[in-house]
Symmetry: C2
Subunit: 249 residues, 2 copies
């Protein structure tokens, strides 16, 4: 609980490596996560080699922490292992479809969060890299992921160099709906975003980016429609190429 | 760490309700999860009302725990709130595409796992319901989810009536790859699945289902190609209907 409530994304790491016993312990924590039908349709690629991390860096827009952190964990939806097992056991796997990708991605993400919480519980710091779905094709190439395997998220892990302040969150009522979904009125939106918009860091961002509203920094700079559309096409192509889009019998 | 390593899926619950303070604490733990650009593009629908749980039950194949457990949590990918905020702030949201769905689903799943671990840390039991993606259209109807919102997983939460044994997992080396992906040889598959296949429960399952191999129970009974294809089509239609498949500029 303490690890969960104290989570910060760590972006600067000490050079200290992670002891193998500790690394195995946090990976084992990943395998205790709930998963679909106990099929465990995910894989975790543990990259520590400087040369391979260097190849991964551009997949994550050359953020320094990819080469700086001692360990890069790439969490993958993986029906390759399970399907191979089926084929060796006189069973015909039917997992080359979008539902199976979704299932495997869910498994991978629950395992990822277990690994990250376990790491933080051991005094390590982590940072998720959302770039994974943007550049999945290149990651597949660098890590040699076969058909049936798609990277869904990445976390860097290591000992924190500096520990930042806890970041803000929307009030709980912004994300929680009681009984059924209650859609947001304009007043709700104003109230729920008021604290975030009033933060000194927001004022600073607006000045730096010469924008009128914080929302514009997201739509115009950080997460643009143009990028989202390009990444959507690329990621759907990856699902197709990795054999997860055979949605006909 | 203890909560993570002791996780069991709980399928039988006491009738005791969950105290509001405890429920809020575990939901708050959900909001501390890493999320994309601190946009928090997820929602959690907390259902405790007996009548609404009854409506949700068929969405989860009428598993008794949906009506029995005091709380049903439906975790949703949600770009509705964020897009409404953008529109009210002179910003044009570009989040009606597949990449944005993927981003929001990742956010929802990391939050879900935080909630579940926090619940277990408080002595509660949980069980994920993979049926959520199979019957998403019906869940959308029951919970009144607007465009931009897609349910991705569900967890029932309550006080365990009985605590089952820890379930088996594949050996760590089955899911962990060092540096890059190492594909599985036939010998690898035999070795990695040997323990699972030798379990007394496996022998019992084979007899009950009159099957030659455990893999056949998965491919022929539990997760069939026919179901997967039907659910793939249905879930892609949900993504389309909820406004996440506009992948052209």
């Amino acid at each position: 609980m303490k690890a969960i409530m104290n989570h910060r994304s760590i972006r600067k790491y000490k050079t200290n490596r992670i002891d193998d016993a500790i690394l195995n312990e946090i990976l084992l924590a990943g395998t205790r996560a709930s998963n679909t039908g106990n099929m465990q349709v995910y894989s975790i690629v543990v990259t520590t080699d400087a040369e391979i991390k260097k190849q991964l860096a551009p997949c994550h827009f050359n953020q320094a922490m990819v080469t700086q952190a001692p360990v890069v964990l790439t969490f993958c939806a993986d029906f390759n292992r399970f399907s191979k097992w089926c084929e060796q056991r006189k069973a015909t796997p039917g997992y080359d479809n979008f539902l199976s990708f979704t299932t495997a991605a869910i498994d991978a993400l629950l395992a990822a969060q277990n690994v990250c919480i376990a790491a933080e519980d051991k005094g390590l710091g982590i940072c998720y890299l959302g770039t994974t779905t943007y550049t999945a094709a290149k990651i597949i190439e660098v890590l040699g992921l076969p058909k049936g395997v798609v990277p869904i998220t990445t976390a860097v892990v290591g000992y924190p160099e500096t520990i930042p302040e806890l970041t803000d969150r929307l009030p709980l009522e912004a994300v929680v709906h009681r009984e059924v979904y209650h859609d947001y009125s304009p007043d709700d939106i104003n109230r729920l975003y008021a604290e975030k918009e009033a933060m000194p860091s927001t004022k600073q961002l607006l000045e730096e980016n010469k924008k009128e509203t914080l929302a514009q920094i997201f739509t115009d700079n950080r997460y643009t429609k143009k990028d989202n559309v390009a990444f959507s096409k690329a990621f759907l192509k990856v699902l197709h190429d990795q054999g997860f889009m055979n949605n006909e019998e």
